[in-house]
């Protein structure tokens, strides 16, 4: 399962202040650990919201409203994210706890959100019930699956 660890923005990150070298080193070491454990999918830092654009739909069915940054309320903004693939919710929390305090002066905040899987979206009881039958068919198909790319799926 996938989780996104979202690093919330702070007054510093919104002001475009670069983190200390210590923090950069610690983050780098942490990311290396994620890579070595085979769980890191993607990670990025975001530019301050002063360089952002916000599109909203104040009227249902109406035209979008486009607004340039900066936006207020740093804690509701995000400064970066790390996407990981792990075995459980607990593992995601454990990894998040190992991330260094992303800002280091009392404003650091992380949010962990689970990514929807295909099954969450299509997991209706009917298609799940078909699972068992399908498994059997697929067992029979295994020999066919050796043709890997053109006729296989």
């Amino acid at each position: 399962m996938r989780f996104m660890m979202i690093v919330k923005a702070t007054t510093d990150s919104e002001a475009g202040a670069m983190p200390s070298q210590d923090l950069i080193d610690a983050m780098q070491k942490y990311n290396e650990e994620l890579v070595k454990a085979g769980v890191l999918l993607a990670a990025d830092g975001l530019q301050p919201s002063s360089n952002g654009i916000r599109i909203s739909y104040p009227e249902p069915g109406g035209k979008p409203k486009v607004m340039d940054g900066p936006f207020t309320e740093a804690k509701e903004l995000i400064a970066g994210y790390t996407l990981i693939e792990v075995k459980s919710r607990e593992e995601a929390i454990e990894w998040a706890l190992r991330m260094p305090d992303p800002h280091g002066y009392g404003q650091g905040e992380l949010e962990i959100r689970q990514v929807f899987e295909a099954e969450d979206l299509t997991g209706n009881p009917e298609s799940l019930a078909k699972g068992a039958t399908l498994r059997k068919q697929v067992e029979e198909q295994k020999s066919r699956d050796f043709v890997p790319n053109t006729s296989n799926h």
């Binding site: 085979g38 693939e85 593992e91 299509t122 697929v138 029979e140 890997p148 053109t150 006729s151 799926h153």
Partner: protein, 421 residues
């Protein structure tokens, strides 16, 4: 935290740390079974203590220290009775037991590599290699492994016990092979990982929970290995292959549960993130400057599909060339059959048909329904409907899969109506 929450957290930590623990302990005690027991002992101590003390700041180091203390205790007791443990006990440095960070950071990659060389050792059967690797390197329980392979838990635990016994009896060393042996052993490791992956991949969506587990474990292990031996192009090739194949996992089954062939999949739903990771891994393989090995070649073929917005826009010429290269590295009639399909997509059906005709005498393809099925396909394209019908009927008689049989007979019927026009 409630007790059950703590237990779930401990379970997660175990899965994160157990491979490193077992690897380090195996280096000390020279026996993978004993190492696993010691690591399990440390886990039991954690399960007793952590609910009261809370989870330590560095749980991996905590477990390592606990296991190492157990190892040292055990060695001290054993060496009084058994001469062979004297040597082992001597090799454990009693005075650096607190220096776990060093152990965890410095030598851990090599130890992990030694461990996976051991669990995929050719002295073990393929089933045993996969089970032992899932157990020791992925931290899965026997129950989880048994459910993945749809066999009884007792079967898996016996398989694992026997595997550990074999490793002990054959005195398989905990080592990093060198030279030519390293190459062979590494390819055995890659084979285990890909077997694991395929077991999950070909299971489509049978059990909601099983399919992703095996694929993800294989992919994760592949990614770990790519960091441990970054200089090996085929490791990146295998990772690339698994990343790209995984990108299609969601689209391989329709909402009604029917398998969907590559050419009919909704490409908009392919996982772009996994595709770009796969392409990056393939590039790493390429940059190492060797001619592509079999995994890199298969990854490159998959990359062609992954990058094509539609079937028609697929670079079939490149795919045909890659299959030709693959058939030189790992000659097989099935690769040849795939090449025939690619050639026909690139240069027209009659060229593909020539290759397929040459394969018709291949004894290893006797009874393989895809041969007449592909031939039927190509015959339709050149307008020989009567011949095509016979091929589809022949293919239908060869498959035991009802759904497939029906599909093939339908195609035969279509040919019949077209032939009579």
């Amino acid at each position: 935290m409630t007790l059950s929450q703590t237990h779930r957290t401990i379970d997660a930590i175990w899965k994160m740390e157990s491979a490193k623990l077992i690897a380090s302990l195996t280096r000390m005690v020279r026996d993978v079974g004993l190492a696993e027991d010691l690591a399990q002992d440390a886990l039991v101590i954690a399960l007793e203590r952590w609910p009261e003390t809370g989870i330590p700041d560095n749980p991996g180091a905590w477990l390592m220290t606990a296991a190492k203390r157990r190892a040292i205790d055990l060695m001290r007791r054993m060496k009084l009775r058994d001469q062979k443990y004297v040597e082992i006990a001597r090799s454990i440095d009693l005075y650096t037991e607190e220096d776990v960070d060093h152990v965890l950071d410095g030598e851990i990659s090599d130890d992990l590599l030694r461990l996976i060389f051991m669990t995929s050792h050719p002295v073990l059967s393929q089933d045993a290699r996969v089970a032992l690797t899932l157990r020791l390197l992925c931290g899965l329980t026997t129950d989880e492994i048994a459910r993945s392979f749809l066999v009884a838990e007792s079967t898996i635990s016996q398989r694992i016990v026997r595997a550990k016994r074999t490793l002990r009896a054959e005195k398989i060393p905990f080592e990093l092979p060198t030279g030519e042996e390293r190459k062979e052993r590494l390819s055995a490791v890659l084979e285990v990982i890909y077997l694991m992956f395929n077991e999950g991949y070909s299971a489509t969506s049978g059990d909601h929970w099983i399919r992703p587990l095996l694929c993800q474990e294989a992919l994760r292990l592949g990614r770990v290995l790519a960091e441990v031996v970054p200089q090996e192009p085929e490791v990146h090739g295998l990772v690339a292959l698994m990343e790209i194949q995984s990108s299609r996992l969601k689209t391989r089954v329709s909402s009604k549960g029917k398998p969907v062939l590559l050419m009919e999949q909704n490409r908009a739903q392919w996982d772009r993130l996994l595709i770009s990771r796969g392409l990056a891994a393939l590039e790493r393989s390429q940059k190492l400057g060797h001619p592509f090995g079999p995994y890199s070649l298969q990854a490159a073929i998959n990359a062609c599909h992954a990058q094509a917005p539609t079937v028609a826009e697929t670079d079939w010429i490149r795919i045909a060339a890659l299959y030709e290269a693959l058939s030189r590295v790992t000659p097989s009639p099935i690769v040849e059959l795939n090449r025939a399909v690619a050639i026909s997509m690139a240069f027209g059906p009659s060229l593909g048909l020539q290759i397929v005709d040459e394969l018709s005498t291949e004894t290893s393809l006797k009874g393989y329904h895809l041969l007449p099925s592909v031939r039927g396909d190509l015959l339709v394209k050149v307008g020989l409907f009567d011949d095509a019908r016979r091929e589809f009927e022949r293919a239908a008689s060869m498959t035991r899969n009802d759904r497939e049989k029906k599909l093939l007979l339908n195609r035969a019927a279509e040919c019949e109506s077209k032939a009579s026009i």
